[in-house]
Amino acid sequence: MKPELMKRMVKGPDGVEFEVEPMRDYYCDAPPTVQHGAYIKIVEDFFNWARSQSLWILGFGTGCGAIEMRPLMTPRFDAYRYGIQWRPTPRQANLLVISGYLSVKTLKRAIRAYEQMQNPKYVVGLGSCTINGGMYWDSYNTIKCLDQYLPVDLYITGCMPRPEALLAGFEDLKKLIRAGQAEGANQYAERFDWYKANQKQVIHDWDMPDYNW
């Protein structure tokens, strides 16, 4: 573990000494729990409609697919029409687009970003390399199968997928959400141990707690 993550004594600017334990102070160990929707079905349906009409994508370009996200948001394709917007912070986003291959180093950041998002949250895997490794099937640094590490709601195939394919994919995701089938966050909570075991098998430099809100 890196020295700055160790538990240690620190002297503040006012001269007071205090103990810091970065792993505990900055993060949270509590595992996620399964969250149920509203008890009344019509309310939950209404919420699901709103969720499907307001997809906020986390602005995290994890791979080369990110280059087709810009045309998606500009005049030719204009995904804003469908309620799709960018959000720069994981707290406010509810859709994580894994835009292409994930190297092990990025996987760690993607997991953290995913865990910081709020339930319900959705993951879309973009490109063949998220599905089965694609071009990088024999690479030592990219994961081959995204749904081993994060609950994926939808894959969009192609290398790389065209913006039209992305728009069609987002429309399909909306259908899933409206049907109440996009419960990836709850799946993640249910099979938390399995996901963590998979993640830890790949990420050797695991200097974060199991769950960091």
Binding site: G61, C64, R70, T74, S103, R109, M135, Y136, R162
Partner: protein
Amino acid sequence: MAYTPDRSQYPAMKADGSLDIDLASGKYLKLWQGPNHPGITGNMSVELTVCGDEVVAGKTHVGYLHRGFEKLMERRTFIQCFPIVCRICVPEPDFNEYCYAAAVEELAGIEVPEKANWIRALILEMGRINSYLMYLGGQAGALGQGVIGQWTTYARDLMLDRFEELTGARIYHMFIMPGGVRDHLPEGFQGRMQETLKEVECTLKDVWEVMFCNAVFKRRTVGMCVIDPAWLDEYGVTGPNARAAGVAKDVRRDAPYLVYPELDFEPVTGHDSDIYTRADVRRRDLLMSVDLIRQILARMPKDGPIMAPMPSMLHWRIPRGETYVRGECSRGEYGYYLVTDGSGYPRRVNVRGPSYTHAMSLLERMIVNVNISDVASLMVSLHTYPPEIER
């Protein structure tokens, strides 16, 4: 009255040149710009240590996009390498194809037909326009002027249409093969290309008026983040970054390749080496590319072969040798170092991307004493792209 910041609060330098930063003192703050950050060029991150509003030290972290291309190519035959090389660099993939093809051709002793060279130059210039359009949008976006990005991406989409009609793909074209190019120009391509070029010029005129003539934009960029011409050799600065510092480093002119010796152009240079000049050099370079495409279209031979006679791809072996082939991409000198050992596989391929030096040692040097607000703008103005660094 000139403002002089109080440097007494700044960290002392230790004997080995590193800074004595005591984070526990509370005077300094660690800020991570990236990888999940809109103000970063691609998937990389910069670890900033700030004191007040100013950066006292910056450290680039890369490796988020590492796929190990150089290793993967060692276990693929020469022709199997060709479809994966373009994936090294997304905004301008054709340079990988060209440099790889040229290096292989040189070692295998293949003579490329003339028309293929013209089409290659056309593709490379089209890719350069795309990359610059993307840059202009990014530079304005880093300063909060989102509308420029909308316009330039629109123009880029038009250019991608031309790519699609020529190569069949928007981003990864896989068009420049070892030995030549895959196809002739389609019917009526020239006319549609001229239309697109007009549209691009029109967009650039708007960009000039709204972005370059804007008082706030000038205020934010003129005189900011200057590259000292003395650093050019130390840090291996190439391309528009060097040209903005007044040094006409342009591989197209210094070591002409393809059909550039026959074309009429002069490398664009600037004087002030600040963010504004770098943006302006790129804008003028873009206009020059538009002009070059017109020249290429007018002078391209009407017919002729586009592929050299090639050996059987499956039994293709290249004798032992090593070479380095370079080209001028939109960010600077792009090169492939290829070593062969007489087998059907490359022994070693090394990709020399211009961002390798720009985003690492040069950025770490330049970022000191820059305001937090200007970090994104500085990074974009170096026009770096991380996959070139880590491949």
